[in-house]
Amino acid sequence: MWVYEKKLQHPVKITRTDPAMAKIIITQLGGPDGELGASMRYLNQRYAMPNDKIKAALTDIGTEELGHMEMVSSIVHQLTRNLSMSEIEKSGFAPYFVDHTVGIYPVDATGNPWTASTIQSTGDPIADLHEDMGAEQKARKTYDNILNLCDDPDVRDVIKFLREREIVHYQRFGESLEHILSGLDKKNYYAFNPAFIPRK
């Protein structure tokens, strides 16, 4: 169960609109390494996870990712307020505008809608945790690329915060993987799925 708290995890206060930047940043909502995928990946992986500590980590990190989704959406929303039609046309925002006006819809930077095919939930804790560590690095990479493209300090402040969180999550998933590996049956030398042993 979740309860909504009427605040952002980290404030988003953007004073200057920039629809071209919004088109880039929206990928962290609906793109392959974005926050919607992150939350869905972790929250769905919990059920096959055999270790209680890691169930907690997936729950808490997955929940934080929902908050990050809200922060990315807030950036896009604030970057696209009070636009004139000429700003929309000149900035390359028109293809998004024609379908969604200035509503928030999860797409990547080239307009492809979010898809569950960018995430996995394998039922194998070792495979899942490797994916999760990779996912955090891939999200960190996207935030680094955004920082290379964006000069607005109001936007950069939020992006830097989100980037730092990827680093912390990577660390926690690394520890989670160690917990699983150190608890493996010694005969399971090649680290096959310890969570599914077919009934005889």
Binding site: V3, K6, Q9, H10, V12, D60
Partner: protein, 84 residues
């Protein structure tokens, strides 16, 4: 200094510390230092939240405190930053 902003920012800071410490505790559940750190900030958070909800309104709708109107619907909502 705007009291509401200051209090909300104190709550957000406490929440960040609590969340970060909770993630650490998920993988280090017996760390006494982290447990004490969590407890200290939880107390700070409770105090700030009490003062905030008494003076300025609701953070979750469970903060309802008998007012004649349902303040939950009052903006601005978190994504609606406005220069004050």
């Amino acid at each position: 200094m705007n009291d509401q902003k200051t209090l909300l920012s104190r709550i957000a800071t406490c929440d960040f510390v609590l969340h970060e410490t909770a993630l650490f505790l998920d993988t280090h559940p017996d760390c006494a230092e982290a447990l004490a750190f969590y407890k200290k900030h939880l107390e700070m958070r409770k105090k700030a939240e009490e003062e905030y909800t008494e003076r300025f309104g609701m953070l979750t709708h469970r903060d309802y405190n008998g007012q004649n109107t349902w303040q939950w619907t009052e903006g601005p909502w978190p994504w609606e930053y406005e220069e004050v």
